[in-house]
Protein backbone atom coordinates (compact mmCIF):
# COMPACT_ATOMS: atom_id res chain seq x y z
CA UNK A 1 0.00 0.00 0.00
CA UNK A 2 1.17 3.50 -0.77
CA UNK A 3 2.03 5.78 2.15
CA UNK A 4 3.02 9.31 3.02
CA UNK A 5 6.01 10.12 5.21
CA UNK A 6 5.48 13.42 6.98
CA UNK A 7 8.60 15.28 7.98
CA UNK A 8 9.82 18.74 8.98
CA UNK A 9 13.41 20.01 8.71
CA UNK A 10 14.60 16.52 7.85
CA UNK A 11 12.99 14.92 10.91
CA UNK A 12 10.40 12.23 10.20
CA UNK A 13 7.21 12.93 12.12
CA UNK A 14 5.04 10.02 11.04
CA UNK A 15 4.11 7.44 8.40
CA UNK A 16 0.57 7.68 7.06
CA UNK A 17 -0.79 4.74 5.05
CA UNK A 18 -3.09 5.76 2.17
CA UNK A 19 -5.75 3.32 3.26
CA UNK A 20 -8.81 5.44 2.40
CA UNK A 21 -10.07 6.77 -0.89
CA UNK A 22 -9.77 10.37 0.39
CA UNK A 23 -7.17 11.61 2.82
CA UNK A 24 -7.54 15.28 3.63
CA UNK A 25 -4.69 17.54 4.71
CA UNK A 26 -5.18 20.85 6.56
CA UNK A 27 -4.85 22.90 9.69
CA UNK A 28 -8.31 22.19 11.10
CA UNK A 29 -8.69 19.18 13.43
CA UNK A 30 -11.19 17.26 11.25
CA UNK A 31 -8.53 16.58 8.59
CA UNK A 32 -7.01 13.10 8.28
CA UNK A 33 -3.59 14.68 8.31
CA UNK A 34 -3.70 17.69 10.59
CA UNK A 35 -0.81 20.12 10.41
CA UNK A 36 -1.25 22.82 13.01
CA UNK A 37 0.69 25.61 11.36
CA UNK A 38 -0.49 29.00 10.19
CA UNK A 39 1.07 28.51 6.74
CA UNK A 40 -1.39 25.67 6.15
CA UNK A 41 -4.98 26.43 5.18
CA UNK A 42 -7.90 24.97 7.12
CA UNK A 43 -8.61 22.57 4.24
CA UNK A 44 -5.38 22.61 2.29
CA UNK A 45 -5.22 19.57 0.02
CA UNK A 46 -6.58 16.08 -0.51
CA UNK A 47 -5.05 12.80 -1.71
CA UNK A 48 -7.47 10.61 -3.65
CA UNK A 49 -6.39 7.00 -4.03
CA UNK A 50 -7.88 4.67 -6.63
CA UNK A 51 -6.50 1.16 -6.24
CA UNK A 52 -2.75 1.61 -6.80
CA UNK A 53 -2.76 5.20 -8.07
CA UNK A 54 -2.96 8.36 -5.97
CA UNK A 55 -3.83 11.90 -6.98
CA UNK A 56 -3.05 15.06 -5.03
CA UNK A 57 -5.39 18.00 -5.30
CA UNK A 58 -5.01 21.48 -3.85
CA UNK A 59 -8.26 22.58 -2.15
CA UNK A 60 -7.79 26.26 -2.95
CA UNK A 61 -5.22 26.84 -0.22
CA UNK A 62 -3.85 30.31 0.48
CA UNK A 63 -0.17 29.39 0.18
CA UNK A 64 -0.48 26.67 -2.45
CA UNK A 65 0.66 23.07 -2.73
CA UNK A 66 4.05 22.26 -4.23
CA UNK A 67 5.31 18.94 -5.58
CA UNK A 68 9.06 18.63 -6.20
CA UNK A 69 9.29 22.42 -6.22
CA UNK A 70 6.45 23.06 -8.66
CA UNK A 71 3.09 24.47 -7.68
CA UNK A 72 0.26 22.10 -8.56
CA UNK A 73 -3.51 22.25 -8.64
CA UNK A 74 -3.91 18.59 -9.36
CA UNK A 75 -1.12 16.05 -9.57
CA UNK A 76 -0.81 12.35 -10.32
CA UNK A 77 1.59 11.19 -7.61
CA UNK A 78 4.64 9.13 -8.53
CA UNK A 79 6.75 7.09 -6.16
CA UNK A 80 9.24 9.44 -4.44
CA UNK A 81 7.34 12.67 -5.07
CA UNK A 82 7.77 15.23 -2.31
CA UNK A 83 4.80 17.40 -1.44
CA UNK A 84 5.75 20.70 0.21
CA UNK A 85 3.30 22.49 2.49
CA UNK A 86 4.96 25.42 4.22
CA UNK A 87 7.90 23.97 6.15
CA UNK A 88 6.47 20.45 6.02
CA UNK A 89 7.46 17.71 3.58
CA UNK A 90 5.21 14.80 2.67
CA UNK A 91 7.01 12.10 0.72
CA UNK A 92 4.85 9.78 -1.37
CA UNK A 93 6.04 6.16 -1.34
CA UNK A 94 4.42 3.61 -3.65
CA UNK A 95 6.80 0.81 -4.51
CA UNK A 96 4.35 -1.95 -5.39
CA UNK A 97 6.29 -3.24 -8.42
CA UNK A 98 9.55 -3.40 -6.53
CA UNK A 99 8.02 -5.34 -3.68
CA UNK A 100 6.29 -7.84 -5.92
CA UNK A 101 9.15 -9.70 -7.49
CA UNK A 102 7.03 -12.43 -9.10
CA UNK A 103 5.17 -11.97 -12.34
CA UNK A 104 1.75 -11.73 -10.70
CA UNK A 105 1.90 -7.97 -10.68
CA UNK A 106 1.55 -7.84 -14.45
CA UNK A 107 -1.36 -10.24 -14.53
CA UNK A 108 -4.50 -8.87 -16.04
CA UNK A 109 -7.34 -8.87 -13.57
CA UNK A 110 -11.00 -8.14 -13.93
CA UNK A 111 -12.27 -5.13 -12.10
CA UNK A 112 -15.73 -5.94 -10.84
CA UNK A 113 -18.40 -3.65 -12.25
CA UNK A 114 -19.37 -0.91 -9.86
CA UNK A 115 -16.01 -0.85 -8.12
CA UNK A 116 -15.12 2.38 -9.86
CA UNK A 117 -17.51 4.90 -11.40
CA UNK A 118 -17.96 4.22 -15.08
CA UNK A 119 -17.19 6.73 -17.78
CA UNK A 120 -18.94 6.55 -21.13
CA UNK A 121 -16.80 4.60 -23.57
CA UNK A 122 -16.77 5.40 -27.27
CA UNK A 123 -14.76 3.77 -30.06
CA UNK A 124 -11.39 5.38 -30.73
CA UNK A 125 -12.05 5.42 -34.46
CA UNK A 126 -15.56 6.39 -35.57
CA UNK A 127 -17.48 3.39 -36.79
CA UNK A 128 -18.56 3.24 -40.41
CA UNK A 129 -22.31 3.40 -39.93
CA UNK A 130 -23.68 6.04 -39.74
CA UNK A 131 -21.33 7.33 -42.44
CA UNK A 132 -18.66 9.58 -41.03
CA UNK A 133 -15.28 10.69 -42.28
CA UNK A 134 -12.95 7.76 -41.68
CA UNK A 135 -10.00 9.96 -40.86
CA UNK A 136 -10.12 9.87 -37.09
CA UNK A 137 -7.72 11.39 -34.63
CA UNK A 138 -5.40 8.58 -33.63
CA UNK A 139 -5.56 7.52 -30.02
CA UNK A 140 -1.96 6.71 -29.31
CA UNK A 141 -1.60 4.87 -26.09
CA UNK A 142 1.94 4.95 -24.96
CA UNK A 143 3.24 2.34 -22.57
CA UNK A 144 6.42 3.16 -20.72
CA UNK A 145 9.54 2.72 -22.79
CA UNK A 146 11.65 0.05 -21.19
CA UNK A 147 15.20 1.21 -20.80
CA UNK A 148 17.20 -0.07 -23.75
CA UNK A 149 20.38 -1.84 -22.77
CA UNK A 150 23.53 -0.17 -24.04
CA UNK A 151 24.47 -1.49 -27.46
CA UNK A 152 27.28 0.12 -29.40
CA UNK A 153 26.02 2.24 -32.27
CA UNK A 154 26.58 0.70 -35.67
CA UNK A 155 26.28 2.00 -39.21
CA UNK A 156 26.14 0.89 -42.82
CA UNK A 157 28.35 2.43 -45.45
CA UNK A 158 27.39 2.03 -49.09
CA UNK A 159 30.40 0.84 -51.10
CA UNK A 160 29.06 0.68 -54.67
CA UNK A 161 26.36 2.21 -56.86
CA UNK A 162 25.22 5.81 -57.12
CA UNK A 163 25.08 6.28 -53.35
CA UNK A 164 28.61 4.98 -52.77
CA UNK A 165 30.24 6.57 -49.77
CA UNK A 166 26.94 7.32 -48.05
CA UNK A 167 26.72 6.32 -44.42
CA UNK A 168 23.59 5.36 -42.51
CA UNK A 169 23.51 5.05 -38.73
CA UNK A 170 21.45 2.19 -37.34
CA UNK A 171 19.74 4.11 -34.56
CA UNK A 172 16.24 2.73 -35.05
CA UNK A 173 14.96 -0.65 -33.91
CA UNK A 174 14.52 -1.53 -37.57
CA UNK A 175 16.30 -0.18 -40.62
CA UNK A 176 15.07 -1.31 -44.02
CA UNK A 177 17.44 -1.66 -46.95
CA UNK A 178 16.65 -2.14 -50.63
CA UNK A 179 13.78 -1.40 -52.94
CA UNK A 180 10.17 -2.35 -52.05
CA UNK A 181 8.83 -4.94 -54.51
CA UNK A 182 12.34 -5.87 -55.72
CA UNK A 183 14.52 -6.84 -52.79
CA UNK A 184 14.17 -5.71 -49.23
CA UNK A 185 16.11 -6.67 -46.13
CA UNK A 186 15.85 -5.30 -42.63
CA UNK A 187 18.43 -4.80 -39.92
CA UNK A 188 17.01 -5.20 -36.43
CA UNK A 189 18.78 -3.56 -33.53
CA UNK A 190 18.41 -5.94 -30.58
CA UNK A 191 19.85 -5.83 -27.05
CA UNK A 192 22.58 -8.31 -27.94
CA UNK A 193 23.45 -7.20 -31.46
CA UNK A 194 22.37 -6.35 -34.99
CA UNK A 195 20.56 -8.89 -37.14
CA UNK A 196 19.82 -8.80 -40.84
CA UNK A 197 16.74 -10.61 -42.18
CA UNK A 198 15.32 -11.10 -45.66
CA UNK A 199 11.90 -9.41 -46.10
CA UNK A 200 10.95 -9.76 -49.76
CA UNK A 201 12.34 -10.39 -53.22
CA UNK A 202 13.48 -13.44 -55.19
CA UNK A 203 17.07 -13.25 -53.93
CA UNK A 204 18.34 -13.39 -50.39
CA UNK A 205 20.81 -10.82 -49.07
CA UNK A 206 24.42 -11.98 -49.27
CA UNK A 207 26.64 -11.50 -46.23
CA UNK A 208 30.37 -12.08 -46.73
CA UNK A 209 29.72 -14.07 -49.88
CA UNK A 210 26.96 -16.32 -48.49
CA UNK A 211 23.21 -15.93 -49.06
CA UNK A 212 21.58 -15.77 -45.62
CA UNK A 213 18.29 -17.55 -46.47
CA UNK A 214 15.14 -16.78 -44.52
CA UNK A 215 16.70 -16.80 -41.06
CA UNK A 216 17.94 -13.75 -39.18
CA UNK A 217 21.71 -13.43 -39.41
CA UNK A 218 23.78 -11.65 -36.78
CA UNK A 219 26.12 -9.05 -38.25
CA UNK A 220 29.75 -8.74 -37.21
CA UNK A 221 31.94 -5.68 -37.43
CA UNK A 222 33.06 -5.06 -41.05
CA UNK A 223 30.68 -7.62 -42.59
CA UNK A 224 30.04 -6.92 -46.30
CA UNK A 225 26.37 -7.06 -47.31
CA UNK A 226 25.21 -7.38 -50.92
CA UNK A 227 21.66 -6.46 -51.79
CA UNK A 228 20.31 -5.97 -55.35
CA UNK A 229 23.90 -5.72 -56.60
CA UNK A 230 24.79 -2.97 -54.11
CA UNK A 231 27.63 -3.63 -51.71
CA UNK A 232 27.69 -2.14 -48.26
CA UNK A 233 29.72 -2.54 -45.13
CA UNK A 234 28.41 -2.97 -41.60
CA UNK A 235 30.61 -1.54 -38.90
CA UNK A 236 30.47 -0.69 -35.19
CA UNK A 237 30.96 2.99 -34.41
CA UNK A 238 32.80 4.22 -31.36
Amino acid sequence: MAKIILSMDGTTLKDIPLNKERITIGRKPHNDIQIDNLAISGEHAVIVTILNDSFLEDMGSTNGTFVNGQQVKKHFLQNGDTIELGKYRLKYINDVPQQTSNADFEKTMILRPGAVPKAPVAPAVPAMAPPQPTAAPPQPSMPPRPTAPALPLAAIQILSGSNAGKEMELTKTLTTLGKPGVQVAVIARRPHGYFITHVEGANFPVVCGNAIGTQAHQLKDHDIIELSGIKMEFFIKN
Binding site: A103, E106, V116, V121, A124, P140, R190
Partner: protein, 273 residues
Protein backbone atom coordinates in the same frame (compact mmCIF):
# COMPACT_ATOMS: atom_id res chain seq x y z
CA UNK B 1 -12.81 -13.92 -55.58
CA UNK B 2 -12.56 -16.03 -52.47
CA UNK B 3 -11.71 -14.21 -49.25
CA UNK B 4 -8.60 -16.30 -48.61
CA UNK B 5 -7.12 -15.13 -51.93
CA UNK B 6 -7.63 -11.46 -51.08
CA UNK B 7 -6.80 -11.48 -47.39
CA UNK B 8 -3.53 -12.69 -45.93
CA UNK B 9 -3.66 -13.94 -42.34
CA UNK B 10 -0.76 -14.62 -39.98
CA UNK B 11 -1.18 -15.52 -36.30
CA UNK B 12 1.58 -16.06 -33.76
CA UNK B 13 1.59 -16.43 -30.00
CA UNK B 14 4.44 -16.66 -27.49
CA UNK B 15 4.61 -17.20 -23.71
CA UNK B 16 7.06 -14.31 -23.33
CA UNK B 17 10.20 -14.29 -21.19
CA UNK B 18 8.72 -14.54 -17.70
CA UNK B 19 5.60 -16.71 -17.73
CA UNK B 20 5.94 -20.44 -18.00
CA UNK B 21 2.53 -20.94 -19.60
CA UNK B 22 0.75 -19.12 -22.38
CA UNK B 23 -2.74 -17.96 -21.45
CA UNK B 24 -3.28 -16.25 -24.80
CA UNK B 25 -5.09 -17.99 -27.60
CA UNK B 26 -5.45 -17.11 -31.28
CA UNK B 27 -7.54 -18.49 -34.15
CA UNK B 28 -8.00 -17.52 -37.77
CA UNK B 29 -10.23 -18.83 -40.53
CA UNK B 30 -9.18 -17.24 -43.83
CA UNK B 31 -12.05 -18.88 -45.72
CA UNK B 32 -14.56 -16.93 -43.62
CA UNK B 33 -12.34 -13.92 -43.00
CA UNK B 34 -12.15 -14.53 -39.24
CA UNK B 35 -9.48 -13.40 -36.78
CA UNK B 36 -9.99 -14.12 -33.07
CA UNK B 37 -7.60 -13.32 -30.21
CA UNK B 38 -8.18 -13.92 -26.51
CA UNK B 39 -6.04 -13.20 -23.44
CA UNK B 40 -7.07 -15.44 -20.57
CA UNK B 41 -6.83 -14.61 -16.89
CA UNK B 42 -7.59 -15.89 -13.43
CA UNK B 43 -7.45 -19.16 -11.57
CA UNK B 44 -4.48 -21.50 -11.44
CA UNK B 45 -3.59 -21.95 -15.13
CA UNK B 46 -7.30 -21.57 -15.92
CA UNK B 47 -6.69 -18.48 -18.02
CA UNK B 48 -5.63 -20.63 -20.93
CA UNK B 49 -8.77 -22.73 -20.54
CA UNK B 50 -10.93 -19.60 -20.81
CA UNK B 51 -9.07 -18.14 -23.79
CA UNK B 52 -8.87 -21.55 -25.49
CA UNK B 53 -12.62 -22.08 -25.04
CA UNK B 54 -13.31 -18.63 -26.47
CA UNK B 55 -11.25 -19.02 -29.65
CA UNK B 56 -12.33 -22.64 -30.27
CA UNK B 57 -16.03 -22.04 -29.70
CA UNK B 58 -16.12 -18.79 -31.63
CA UNK B 59 -14.13 -19.95 -34.65
CA UNK B 60 -16.33 -23.01 -35.17
CA UNK B 61 -19.66 -21.31 -34.40
CA UNK B 62 -18.94 -18.23 -36.51
CA UNK B 63 -17.88 -20.38 -39.47
CA UNK B 64 -21.11 -22.39 -39.13
CA UNK B 65 -23.26 -19.26 -38.99
CA UNK B 66 -21.54 -17.63 -41.96
CA UNK B 67 -21.80 -20.83 -44.01
CA UNK B 68 -25.54 -20.56 -43.45
CA UNK B 69 -25.77 -16.93 -44.44
CA UNK B 70 -23.07 -14.44 -45.54
CA UNK B 71 -22.12 -11.86 -42.88
CA UNK B 72 -23.19 -8.85 -44.95
CA UNK B 73 -26.79 -10.02 -45.46
CA UNK B 74 -29.63 -8.97 -43.19
CA UNK B 75 -31.24 -11.30 -40.69
CA UNK B 76 -35.03 -11.65 -40.36
CA UNK B 77 -35.32 -8.52 -38.23
CA UNK B 78 -33.38 -6.42 -40.76
CA UNK B 79 -30.18 -6.37 -38.71
CA UNK B 80 -26.83 -7.10 -40.32
CA UNK B 81 -26.31 -10.87 -39.97
CA UNK B 82 -22.71 -10.45 -38.78
CA UNK B 83 -23.91 -8.27 -35.89
CA UNK B 84 -26.56 -10.66 -34.69
CA UNK B 85 -24.15 -13.61 -35.00
CA UNK B 86 -21.39 -11.83 -33.07
CA UNK B 87 -23.78 -10.78 -30.32
CA UNK B 88 -25.31 -14.24 -30.01
CA UNK B 89 -22.01 -16.11 -30.10
CA UNK B 90 -20.26 -13.72 -27.70
CA UNK B 91 -23.14 -14.27 -25.27
CA UNK B 92 -23.03 -18.07 -25.73
CA UNK B 93 -19.25 -18.19 -25.29
CA UNK B 94 -19.55 -16.04 -22.19
CA UNK B 95 -22.19 -18.41 -20.85
CA UNK B 96 -20.08 -21.49 -21.57
CA UNK B 97 -16.97 -20.10 -19.84
CA UNK B 98 -19.03 -18.78 -16.93
CA UNK B 99 -20.70 -22.19 -16.49
CA UNK B 100 -17.34 -23.98 -16.55
CA UNK B 101 -15.92 -21.52 -14.02
CA UNK B 102 -18.93 -22.04 -11.74
CA UNK B 103 -19.03 -25.84 -11.94
CA UNK B 104 -15.30 -26.68 -11.81
CA UNK B 105 -13.49 -25.41 -8.72
CA UNK B 106 -10.13 -25.37 -10.53
CA UNK B 107 -11.60 -22.96 -13.08
CA UNK B 108 -13.17 -20.58 -10.56
CA UNK B 109 -12.62 -16.95 -11.43
CA UNK B 110 -11.32 -17.55 -14.94
CA UNK B 111 -12.14 -15.20 -17.75
CA UNK B 112 -10.71 -13.81 -20.94
CA UNK B 113 -10.47 -10.69 -23.02
CA UNK B 114 -11.53 -10.95 -26.63
CA UNK B 115 -10.95 -9.07 -29.86
CA UNK B 116 -12.22 -10.45 -33.14
CA UNK B 117 -12.67 -9.27 -36.69
CA UNK B 118 -14.96 -10.54 -39.43
CA UNK B 119 -13.83 -9.39 -42.89
CA UNK B 120 -16.70 -9.21 -45.36
CA UNK B 121 -17.86 -6.92 -48.15
CA UNK B 122 -14.92 -4.44 -47.98
CA UNK B 123 -15.64 -4.11 -44.28
CA UNK B 124 -14.26 -5.41 -41.04
CA UNK B 125 -16.74 -5.88 -38.25
CA UNK B 126 -14.85 -5.70 -34.97
CA UNK B 127 -16.10 -7.03 -31.65
CA UNK B 128 -14.10 -6.62 -28.47
CA UNK B 129 -14.29 -7.07 -24.73
CA UNK B 130 -11.43 -6.01 -22.44
CA UNK B 131 -7.97 -4.67 -23.30
CA UNK B 132 -6.87 -6.75 -26.27
CA UNK B 133 -6.59 -4.41 -29.23
CA UNK B 134 -6.97 -3.89 -32.91
CA UNK B 135 -4.69 -1.45 -34.74
CA UNK B 136 -4.84 -0.49 -38.38
CA UNK B 137 -2.07 0.67 -40.72
CA UNK B 138 -3.39 2.59 -43.73
CA UNK B 139 -0.65 4.22 -45.76
CA UNK B 140 1.43 6.04 -43.17
CA UNK B 141 -1.40 6.20 -40.69
CA UNK B 142 -1.29 3.83 -37.75
CA UNK B 143 -4.33 4.05 -35.47
CA UNK B 144 -5.69 2.14 -32.54
CA UNK B 145 -9.15 1.07 -33.65
CA UNK B 146 -10.51 -0.39 -30.42
CA UNK B 147 -10.70 1.43 -27.14
CA UNK B 148 -9.76 -0.68 -24.13
CA UNK B 149 -12.37 -1.62 -21.57
CA UNK B 150 -9.98 -0.84 -18.74
CA UNK B 151 -9.83 1.33 -15.66
CA UNK B 152 -6.96 3.29 -17.21
CA UNK B 153 -8.91 4.08 -20.39
CA UNK B 154 -11.87 5.22 -18.29
CA UNK B 155 -9.57 7.49 -16.29
CA UNK B 156 -8.15 8.91 -19.52
CA UNK B 157 -11.66 9.39 -20.95
CA UNK B 158 -12.88 11.18 -17.86
CA UNK B 159 -9.84 13.51 -17.95
CA UNK B 160 -8.52 12.29 -14.64
CA UNK B 161 -5.13 11.47 -16.13
CA UNK B 162 -3.45 12.19 -19.45
CA UNK B 163 -2.09 9.70 -22.00
CA UNK B 164 1.38 10.69 -20.86
CA UNK B 165 0.59 10.05 -17.18
CA UNK B 166 -1.09 6.77 -18.07
CA UNK B 167 2.36 5.40 -18.91
CA UNK B 168 3.22 5.56 -15.23
CA UNK B 169 -0.04 4.25 -13.85
CA UNK B 170 0.05 1.17 -11.67
CA UNK B 171 -3.50 0.27 -12.62
CA UNK B 172 -2.62 -0.97 -16.11
CA UNK B 173 -3.71 -4.50 -15.66
CA UNK B 174 -7.31 -3.88 -14.64
CA UNK B 175 -9.97 -4.57 -17.23
CA UNK B 176 -13.55 -3.47 -16.69
CA UNK B 177 -15.07 -6.10 -18.96
CA UNK B 178 -14.16 -9.72 -19.60
CA UNK B 179 -15.73 -12.85 -21.06
CA UNK B 180 -16.86 -15.52 -18.59
CA UNK B 181 -16.75 -13.65 -15.30
CA UNK B 182 -20.44 -12.74 -15.13
CA UNK B 183 -23.61 -14.42 -16.44
CA UNK B 184 -23.86 -11.70 -19.07
CA UNK B 185 -21.35 -9.64 -20.99
CA UNK B 186 -21.60 -6.53 -23.08
CA UNK B 187 -19.71 -6.76 -26.37
CA UNK B 188 -18.71 -3.66 -28.30
CA UNK B 189 -19.24 -4.03 -32.06
CA UNK B 190 -18.35 -1.59 -34.85
CA UNK B 191 -17.95 -1.71 -38.64
CA UNK B 192 -14.99 -0.15 -40.44
CA UNK B 193 -14.36 0.21 -44.13
CA UNK B 194 -11.39 -1.79 -45.44
CA UNK B 195 -9.20 -0.41 -48.23
CA UNK B 196 -6.75 -2.43 -50.32
CA UNK B 197 -3.31 -2.23 -48.70
CA UNK B 198 -4.67 -1.95 -45.15
CA UNK B 199 -2.84 -4.02 -42.54
CA UNK B 200 -4.73 -4.96 -39.36
CA UNK B 201 -2.98 -5.94 -36.15
CA UNK B 202 -4.89 -7.75 -33.41
CA UNK B 203 -2.77 -8.08 -30.27
CA UNK B 204 -2.79 -8.90 -26.58
CA UNK B 205 -1.52 -6.37 -24.03
CA UNK B 206 1.75 -8.32 -23.88
CA UNK B 207 2.65 -6.46 -27.06
CA UNK B 208 1.38 -2.94 -26.46
CA UNK B 209 2.53 -2.87 -22.81
CA UNK B 210 6.09 -3.78 -23.83
CA UNK B 211 6.49 -1.98 -27.16
CA UNK B 212 5.54 1.63 -27.83
CA UNK B 213 2.90 2.35 -30.44
CA UNK B 214 5.41 4.23 -32.62
CA UNK B 215 7.70 1.20 -32.66
CA UNK B 216 4.80 -1.11 -33.49
CA UNK B 217 3.75 1.25 -36.28
CA UNK B 218 7.26 1.39 -37.70
CA UNK B 219 7.60 -2.39 -37.65
CA UNK B 220 4.25 -3.05 -39.31
CA UNK B 221 5.05 -0.39 -41.92
CA UNK B 222 8.53 -1.71 -42.65
CA UNK B 223 7.61 -5.39 -42.77
CA UNK B 224 4.09 -5.39 -44.24
CA UNK B 225 5.49 -7.19 -47.30
CA UNK B 226 6.30 -10.20 -45.12
CA UNK B 227 3.63 -10.75 -42.47
CA UNK B 228 5.26 -13.85 -40.95
CA UNK B 229 8.45 -11.91 -40.35
CA UNK B 230 6.48 -8.92 -39.14
CA UNK B 231 4.64 -11.01 -36.52
CA UNK B 232 7.87 -12.66 -35.41
CA UNK B 233 9.61 -9.28 -35.18
CA UNK B 234 6.80 -7.77 -33.06
CA UNK B 235 6.94 -10.70 -30.64
CA UNK B 236 10.73 -10.52 -30.54
CA UNK B 237 10.59 -6.80 -29.70
CA UNK B 238 8.18 -7.49 -26.82
CA UNK B 239 10.52 -10.23 -25.56
CA UNK B 240 13.65 -8.08 -25.98
CA UNK B 241 11.96 -5.40 -23.88
CA UNK B 242 11.35 -7.84 -21.05
CA UNK B 243 8.48 -10.00 -22.32
CA UNK B 244 6.73 -9.85 -18.96
CA UNK B 245 3.43 -11.14 -20.36
CA UNK B 246 2.31 -13.55 -23.06
CA UNK B 247 2.43 -11.91 -26.49
CA UNK B 248 0.03 -12.67 -29.34
CA UNK B 249 -0.48 -11.04 -32.70
CA UNK B 250 -2.72 -11.65 -35.68
CA UNK B 251 -1.89 -9.70 -38.83
CA UNK B 252 -4.38 -9.39 -41.67
CA UNK B 253 -3.53 -7.68 -44.94
CA UNK B 254 -6.13 -6.74 -47.53
CA UNK B 255 -4.50 -7.25 -50.93
CA UNK B 256 -7.53 -6.17 -52.98
CA UNK B 257 -11.19 -5.28 -52.61
CA UNK B 258 -13.60 -8.00 -51.50
CA UNK B 259 -17.16 -6.86 -52.21
CA UNK B 260 -19.95 -9.22 -51.21
CA UNK B 261 -21.23 -11.28 -54.10
CA UNK B 262 -24.90 -10.65 -54.40
CA UNK B 263 -26.67 -13.98 -54.25
CA UNK B 264 -29.37 -12.98 -56.66
CA UNK B 265 -26.90 -11.65 -59.23
CA UNK B 266 -24.60 -14.65 -58.95
CA UNK B 267 -27.54 -17.01 -59.41
CA UNK B 268 -28.66 -14.98 -62.40
CA UNK B 269 -25.16 -15.05 -63.87
CA UNK B 270 -24.89 -18.77 -63.25
CA UNK B 271 -28.19 -19.28 -65.08
CA UNK B 272 -27.03 -16.96 -67.90
CA UNK B 273 -23.81 -18.92 -68.40
Amino acid sequence: MALNEVLEFVAQTHAGMVRTNNEDSVATDPAYGLAILADGMGGYNAGEVASGMATTLLSSELAKSFALRPPSEKDDSGKLWVHSVLETEAARTNGAIFQAAQSQPQYAGMGTTLVMGVFHDNTVTVAHIGDSRLYRLRGEDFVQVTRDHSLLQEQIDSGMITQEQAKHSQNKNLVTRAVGVDPEVSVEIHDYEVLPGDVYLFCSDGLNDMVEDEEIAMTVGALSANLELCAAQLIQMACDNGGRDNVSVILVKAKAEFPATNKWISRFLAWFN
